[in-house]
């Protein structure tokens, strides 16, 4: 590797310092809220115990969806069906009712049914939900889309800070052994070692979580882009026709999609919606059955009047990347041990952030920077001397 000029190192150092300073506050918030969020499933089970579905033998048939929707409609006459979700872990079906196509937080009412018996399990109370509160803080600082985009910019700044941090690591560590931690050194030395050691060891994990964080923050605009690219073509033949008022059976529509995609299982149905989907179709999401394909959902549109399957196929590449970004950000794809590992990496990252902040606060004009300034001056003098 070629010799690095002191000026180059100083530029990287400055980039590291400034990108870190920009993102530290919100990143610290994201790391701290992210820690309990890694264990979201466990926390939810603990804090909000739910009614368990009936135990059935393997291969039991699924109950009919239409009566569930009718029951939800009777319970909430002022709302209309918004979506149906199939629980990943238990045979439960969520029927979501909404006052509008673009519901605000807290407006959706849910009814949970047993997927085998079709019986109503419970109607969750509309109360404080710790993990949703944390998730909202973590992903959008309670600001909706502008908040999501802000967090996206923060995540991008974090990635830059990681890259520049890795670049300055080399020049700074040339006289130190890998893993140096001078526990008996001066306070600043200790924090410096801690910052370098934890930072470099967890670097790849932090890069993955940072980059997937950028992707997740862009999910709203990316889905909007996809909708804008595909929907006008699909809706063109319907031009001038009145908006359908009578919807055909959801069960029939799900059956059609299942028949068309035998290798997949249906995960959700979105009712006709002019904001998130098509006003004339059921949007049926289905996922694969292998570890990877279970993360890749495929949408199919079913005409709510005549049942014609209007579109079936994969998502564009940018939404595929988004889908794979979710598990790699949340760490929820390899059992509880992986979640614990995620938690430990996250804790290490918190220490990196705090130590970095300490290093900056403890001496504004840090010795590092003074040293670099000297080196740059010397280099410039040498260059002037040789010309």
């Amino acid at each position: 590797m070629a010799q690095l000029s002191a000026k180059t190192v100083r530029n990287w150092y400055r980039l590291h310092k400034w990108t870190s300073l920009i993102c530290t506050a919100l990143l610290l918030m994201a790391c701290i809220t992210g820690l309990p969020l890694v264990f979201q499933d466990e926390l939810d089970a603990l804090l909000e115990p739910h009614v368990a579905p009936a135990k059935v033998e393997a291969g039991a048939t699924t109950a009919s969806l239409d009566p569930m929707i009718a029951q939800a409609q009777a319970r909430f006459p002022a709302l209309h069906p918004f979506s149906i979700g199939f629980d990943d872990d238990e045979p439960r079906i969520f029927v979501n009712m909404s006052p509008s196509d673009d519901p605000k937080k807290g407006e959706i009412r849910q009814m949970i049914f047993d997927a085998h018996t079709g019986k109503l399990l419970e109607v969750p109370k509309d109360g404080f939900d710790l993990t949703s509160f944390l998730l909202q803080l973590h992903s959008e600082i309670f600001l909706g889309l502008p908040g999501e985009l802000t967090m996206g910019v923060m995540a991008l700044t974090f990635v830059l800070s990681l890259v520049s941090g890795a670049l300055v690591y080399g020049p700074f560590m040339r006289r130190l052994e890998f893993g140096t931690y001078r526990r008996n050194g001066a306070k600043r030395t200790r924090w410096f070692d801690l910052h370098n050691l934890l930072g470099i060891v967890t670097l790849a994990w932090a890069l993955v979580v940072g980059a997937t964080g950028v992707m997740n923050a862009l999910s709203t605009p990316l889905f909007g882009l996809w909708r804008a690219q595909t929907l006008p073509k699909i809706l063109a033949p319907y031009h001038g026709k009145p908006v359908p008022t009578h919807f055909r059976s959801v069960d029939e529509s799900v059956k059609q999609v299942s028949a068309a995609l035998p290798e997949m299982e249906v995960t959700a149905v979105v009712f006709p919606n002019s904001v998130f989907s098509s006003p004339r179709h059921y949007l049926v999401w289905a996922k694969g059955k292998t570890p990877v394909t279970s993360r890749l959902e495929t949408p199919t549109l079913v005409d709510v009047e005549n049942g014609a399957v209007t579109m079936s196929g994969g998502l564009p590449w940018y939404l595929r990347i988004l889908e794979l970004s979710r598990p790699l950000h949340f760490g929820d794809y390899g059992g509880l041990p992986l979640k614990i590992i995620w938690g430990l990496f996250d804790t290490a990252l918190i220490v990196v952030l705090v130590s970095g902040l300490y290093l900056w606060l403890s001496k504004r004009k840090s010795p590092i920077e003074r040293e670099l300034n000297h080196l740059v001056e010397r280099e410039l003098l040498q260059q002037a001397g040789t010309v």
Partner: protein, 66 residues
């Protein structure tokens, strides 16, 4: 210790990055056995951290100049 070349300085960090990336990937691509492989790989950097943080400083107070 004399100044090491950058190649030497980055050797271990690059190896660790590979271990982490493979660990993250294995859990994504498979279940069961592959999850276990992933846990073992991802435990490597964490155990290494524990080792370096707990090991007594060889020469206390050395290298205070940053």
């Amino acid at each position: 210790m004399t100044a090491a070349s950058l190649k030497v300085v980055y050797r271990l960090p690059l190896a660790l990055a590979m271990v982490i990336l493979l660990g993250l990937l294995f859990a994504l691509l498979g279940d069961g056995f592959w999850d276990v492989v992933s846990w073992l790989l991802l435990a490597v950097p964490l155990l290494l951290l524990a080792f370096f943080l707990r090991r007594p400083s060889p020469r206390p107070g050395r290298g205070e100049v940053l």
